[in-house]
Symmetry: C2
């Protein structure tokens, strides 16, 4: 091969040792929100150091958005999703925990260097892709948001902050519809909103407001084979939604 | 002085050459929004390179919030204000413009190094402090937001993004009251909201909604010496506002 030919991947880029990106990927299993985590070390008894958000250092020839998409794909196989920036995290001690330092020593050239991280988040349909771990991810798992008490580094704080960003966002735009299947019941939509907002919502008010917004459309089709009275299916009315957004409508709070 | 005595300021810290903070400080002169800018080089004909947001590299022993407060104080004298993070900006070419490079060469050890910046924003009462330039700020000026077409680096983009963050924020919380004097007219409040949202708001709807929210209180006092029918003064009702926020109320959109 000519010396002008393709170079191995790792030689094309220089790592920026001081900046990383981390991705908070949330999915919905029709009951509760789940977070996509990578398992770094399956032998560890320390639950916090065992699981982390998918994240890594950025390259010096990519911007933050590009880095977030690349890192997510490299660690979990997930691609072509809409990532939005949540928050930059820069506490001086954020990577200094002993169990994290041990892990950093095994994967980084400069494990003790301070790293500032920029967090991204996304809502995805949990059934739309099959995670496939690679790079330093031993496995990729969905964990119920409510069961997570700690994570590697400051990732629990990053997760909490991303959730706050999302809670503010969903009041201005109805952003959760891609977490549901094409046809869904109003109960599923109601549960989705409750899990994102982290509090109970009055069922009747919720339905009334959704109907008034006119962004869901009742289908002539019911659930089959359920152990309760079958509910009607609905679908998202994208045209009406687009019209509302174009008109500057922004009150989707409940 | 003992060798254990106080060291000069610049020796206590190590600069992180890859991370900076920038501050978008907005004030209101009762007519329009103004942005606080530092003048870097008063001889320059290039308007973009002449004015910048107050910003600088962070030290390795401070977090991002601390850096934002320190840098703002060092360059403009402004302190004790509520700064909130807006967005991290990391385009590969963001400091590469020729006019900016020239300036960086005069103040930085490594002028060609890539710098990622984390933007903060705040709304302040334009009359509550007198800016005093120091460090590399030749002067500190308020510029009307609408008259700014470009700034140093990607600061115009940072300003635009911070404005977007603020526009989303003000729909969830009525955050502009500290830009007004203690007693204000409803016209002033209306103009403030219009300048933040960047669009006209129907005056009657605006007043009706404000009254319904019950967060402004009519005072038994009118304007004096104005060339039109004097308007009534109002004040912000902090107790009612706190109550609304505690109840989780979040619909302050117009």
């Amino acid at each position: 091969m000519s010396i002008f030919g393709a170079m191995p991947h790792q030689n094309r880029h220089t790592l920026n040792n001081g900046i990383s990106v981390d991705c908070v990927i949330l999915g919905f299993d029709f009951e509760k929100l789940q977070v996509l985590l990578i398992e770094r070390d399956s032998d560890s008894d320390d639950q916090a150091s065992r699981y982390a958000l998918p994240g890594d250092l950025i390259y010096d020839d990519e911007n933050l958005n590009q880095a977030a998409h690349r890192v997510l794909k490299e660690l979990t196989g997930l691609e072509n999703i809409f990532l939005e920036q949540s928050h930059a995290h820069g506490d001086v001690e954020r990577t200094k925990r002993e169990s994290d330092q041990k892990w950093l020593e095994s994967v980084r050239d400069e494990p003790s260097l301070r790293v500032i991280t920029v967090a991204y988040y996304s809502l995805v349909n949990i059934n739309a892709f099959k995670p496939s771990p690679s790079n330093f991810a031993k496995s990729v798992v969905w964990k119920p948001l409510g069961e997570i008490e700690d994570l590697a580094f400051d990732h629990f704080e990053i997760l909490t902050q991303a959730r706050r960003t999302l809670q503010a966002k969903i009041k201005l735009k109805p952003i959760g519809f891609n977490l549901l299947p094409e046809k869904f019941t109003l109960s599923q939509l109601h549960k989705l909103y409750e899990s994102i907002l982290g509090r109970e919502l009055d069922k009747r008010n919720f339905r009334r407001k959704m109907m008034k917004l006119d962004i869901v459309e009742r289908l002539d089709e019911k659930q089959i084979g359920v152990p309760h009275k079958p509910s009607n299916f609905y679908k998202f009315n994208i045209e009406n939604y687009q019209k509302l957004i174009e008109e500057g409508y922004d009150n989707f709070g409940f």
